[in-house]
Structure formats: C-alpha cells, structure tokens
Amino acid sequence: MPDASPIGIFIAGLLTLGIFSFLYKDNPVYKVCEAIFIGVSAAYWAVEYFYSALYRKFWLGVFPPAGSGVEADLLLWGGAILGALMLCRMIPKINWLSRWPLAFIVGATAGLYMMLFFVSNAMKQIESTMQPLIQDSLLETLGSFTIAIGTITGLIYFFFSKEHKGIFGGAAKVGIWVLMVTFGASFGYTVMSRMSLLIGRMDFLFNSWATNFGQMF
C-alpha cells in the first residue's frame, strides 16, 4: 500500500478485522465497520457524481471556459431537464413527472441494446459454433461434437412454449447437464480467483499491517 500513512494502515487493518468478525456472527464491531463503510462510500459517490456529472460533464459542457475553444454542447440540457424532472418526486402534486425520465431510460436502454445484444449474444455465438465436426485429432473432433450438441441441447432447454417430454425432454435434460457441468467448472475457476483476493488481504494483514503495528507500538 504505497503512500499510506501509518495511521491509515492501522485503521484499514482494524476495519478489515472488524468486517471479518462477521464470519463468527453479527456483532457491534461489525455494525460499526459496516456503518463506516456505507457512510464513507455513500458520501464519496455523492461527491464523485456531483463533480463528474454535474460539474465536469454538464456545467463545463454547457458553459465552457472562455478561451478554451470548446463550443457549448446544448444537448446536455436534455439530460439536465430529465434529471431535474426526477427531483419532482419530492413535490406530491407533480411527482408524476418523475416517471418521464424513468420511461426515457428504460425505453432508450431497450432500443440501444437491442441490436448490440442481438449481435453479441446471438449472431456471434452462432458464428463461433459453426465449426467442422471432423477435426485433425480425435480429441478435437470430440470437442467439436460437444460444442455443437451442447449448444443445441442447451437451446432446447430454454424452449418455453413446448413441454419437455419424450425426445425433446431428453434433449433438454442433456442441455441442463451440459449447463451444470459448465457451472461446476466455472465455480472452481472463480473460487480460485477469490482465493487470490483473500491471500491479498491476508498479505496486507500479516505484512503491511503487522509490520506497521510493530513499528507504532
């Protein structure tokens, strides 16, 4: 932890131990650490949003500094008006106006992502699955067949308008097995990456914090 003051390291270590105490059970120390974490982070994000969205993006966008050569971006007023409409929630008589920006966000999101998801989640996946079933080696051939059969049976599992019965049901069962085997592999892989995070935190406690603790006292 470069440039951290000894007091900062000391507090960080105590808070880490306080959060870890939840592993035993809920306790006053955890409650204090939790409250500090939530309070500090909420305040941090409030300030961050104020400066990044309201000041840097909006204010400097519509009122660029004189001599900067940047033209005012009038489109930003659209966002500002929608943002202001959100505040109407606090006035009971016109609180219905706050639904407009929400409707805008949801509608714009659906429209903008439609093609994006269709290409990345459908077309690109289909394209990648189109492989020759016969490959150079037996193992690769087995891999190609597994991908093709796994994808098709997986798709069959996600059929909602047909009962999973007979051959169709059997294929769906193969599909869910393929999914579960994938999940198992993914589980192991992710647990290993989480272990590295834990090791990182332990390294902080036993090296940075313990050394600092020894020097302080």
Partner: protein, 427 residues
Amino acid sequence: MSQPNQNSPFCKIFPTLLSALFLFTILASSPKTLFAQDAETSVIDSTLENLVPIPARPANVKAKDHVYDIGEKVDVSWELSPDDTTGLRNVVGYIISRRLDTASDFDSVGAVFSRIASLTDIGLTKGESYQYAVTAYTSAGAVSETSVSNSVTTEQEWFDGDKFWQVLLLVIIAGSVAYFIYHAKKGKPMFLRKIAGLQAVEEAIGRATEMGRPILFIPGIHDMDDVQTIAGMTILAKVAKQVAEYESRIFVPTRASLAMTAARETVREAYMTAGRIDAYRSDDIYYVTDEQFGYVAAVNGIMTRDKPATCFYLGAFFAESLILAETGNSIGAIQIAGTAMPAQLPFFVAACDYTLIGEELFAASAYLSEDPKQMGSLKGQDVGKVVAMAAILIGAVLATLGSEEGMNIETFNSAFHAFWGVFGGGE
C-alpha cells in the same frame, strides 16, 4: 590431403572479385533516396540507377468513396507494378499518400506489402475531396515513379448495408413475436412450460407471511440501463402485489439511486393494484450506497438483523452473489435467485433453493403475469431459437463437408463461407 596452390591465377583474381562483389552489394543496398541530388553527386546517381533497378510504377490508381460509412473512409485500388509478380520481381511494397484537392503536397498515409493492390484510408472528413498517390518500392530502397488517382469526395450513407443480414434476422424474429402476440391477444391459448423457481414464488411469500417475517428483494446491483434490472423490476411488481395481498412486508435495498426510484414506483403501483395502498411504505425501498461491497455489507446486516423468511436475488450480480446467498442460507431463508451473468450462476445454483438460469429470468414476468402479450412474445422468441439451431446445424454440416479435415469439397467450402458471413464470420 593436398593444399591449394597459393600462386595459382585463380587465387590472385579471387580477392579482387570478392572486393568488387562487396562494393556492388553495398551500393545495391543503399537507398537511392539517400544520395543528394546536387551536381557533384549526379554522376554517382546516374551510375547507381544502373546498379539499383528501379521498379515500374503501379498503374490505374483509383479512389472510391467507401460505401456504408459515415463519410470517413476512401477505398484506394491500383494495378500491381509490372515488376511485382513478374518482370524484375523486386517490389516489396507500395506507399500510399494522400492530399486534399486544394493542397499541393502528398502525405504518406500507409504502406502495404507487394501483391496487395488496395487500401482503405480511414479517419477522413465528410464532404472533403482527396487525391491519392501510389509508389512501388524495393528492398534496396529504390522507388518507382508515382501514379496519382482521380479526385474523390467522401459521403455519408444513411444505411449500413453491411448489417443487412442482422436486420433481416431481427425482422424475422421480431415478426414472429408480433405474430404470436397478435394471436395471444385474439385469445388463442399459449402454452408455457413450468419453471420450478417461479412456481415457488407464491409458496415463499406465503411462508414469510405465516412466519411473520419480511421478504427481501434485491434487484441486482446494476442501474436501470441493464435489461436484467428491468426484468428484476418486472418480477418485483408481481411479488409486491402478492405481498400486498398477503399483508406481508417487503424490503428492497438498492445500490443505484435510479433503481430505487423505479422500485418505489413499481411497488407502489403493485400495492395500488392490490387495493392496499395504505399498507405501502416507501421507506422500505431505499438506496444504500454505490460502493459494491459497502452495499453487500449493508444487505448482510439487514439479513442477520431482520431475518427475512424469503430472499429474492433477481437481476445482474457480480462477486457479491455468493456472499449474499451464503448469508441468506445461514439465516434459513427460502432463496430464489435469477441472473444472466454466467460467472455468478454457479454460486446461486449452489447456495439458493431455486435459480432462474439466464433467459428464465426474462421469461419469468410472462410466466407470473400470464399476460397474453408477454406470453406471445415468449413464443416468438422460441422461433428465434429454432432459427439459431437450424443455422448451427447447417453451418456445422457445410463446414464439415468443405473443410480440409473433413470432406474438402470446394463447393461446400464456398457455401460455408457465404453462410458464415451472414452471421458476421470472417469480418
């Protein structure tokens, strides 16, 4: 073993021959352009031109506005230098230069290897006119004379024709969705298979009511610009309506402020529909913090202190998925999770009672509401899956018949590449 005769005529001439060859090599490898063009060196230059063969210039340089772009690209093509694949065969590449019609000097914009006769110039300004010059060069640094193209003006097209197949496939799927919605609205019965996690929703809410404990609903940790959060909110509407009817209580802590607003609107609407607006408590739906693990710490605290009997995790989740599900498990809550994040699904499957996998999350709202429009939409999406399966099968068979490892039949190979291109293959 006999020794060579040091006084033989060959031994006397050989060093001289080597020196001459060395000098020739040095001269041949020096770029012509390195030599000054003043009067004193012009004699050397004319000698060099005899030693360093100058390639013939590329001919017929054409510049064409790139189709289906926003006016920022030009396609440049030319005929290969006669000394590229034939003749001297000394061309190693081509230098492409550009100038505005109004400018006098060309600036280099790129180079390509020999045997390549085209280049797409990018990053241009819409509505400007440009000219291109192409020059062949050799490894010895000799450059050909320059060939100049016609003038071309960049234009913006309204539609991107490269996306034709994407639109066509989307129209087929969207058309089938519209078709089934139409029939569902006409009253045609639509079958939906059972989804275990959703059948358990009512039971889970009933259990919480009987135990007199609240229900916790987490609509993911993303904002309203994520379709998973929107799907979570749709399910929240159904859950909240049932909670209102059962006179139970629901807590919805959110990580995003906009998600909080949407959740409040959703729950309020649900309570109104259930005729229990008096029981609606806006304070039960609240923003915590944008910090991912700060939010998790808070939700863990809520779980251990309020001990909800049922926990719903429906939306987009990341590393917090297992922390939440494990804490819920430790307090003995019924847990129903659903997400389309592939890396988090294993944790929910391991730690929750029911998990909605991927698209089941999006199908949930249709299933819960039994709304004809949503059910018709679901049936239409199944048509999309049939299209996908057919495409994979056709593509795999064509690839097998056309590939070198398979049957290696050229016709099938061409057919495969054409078919593959429809889905963006080879781009």
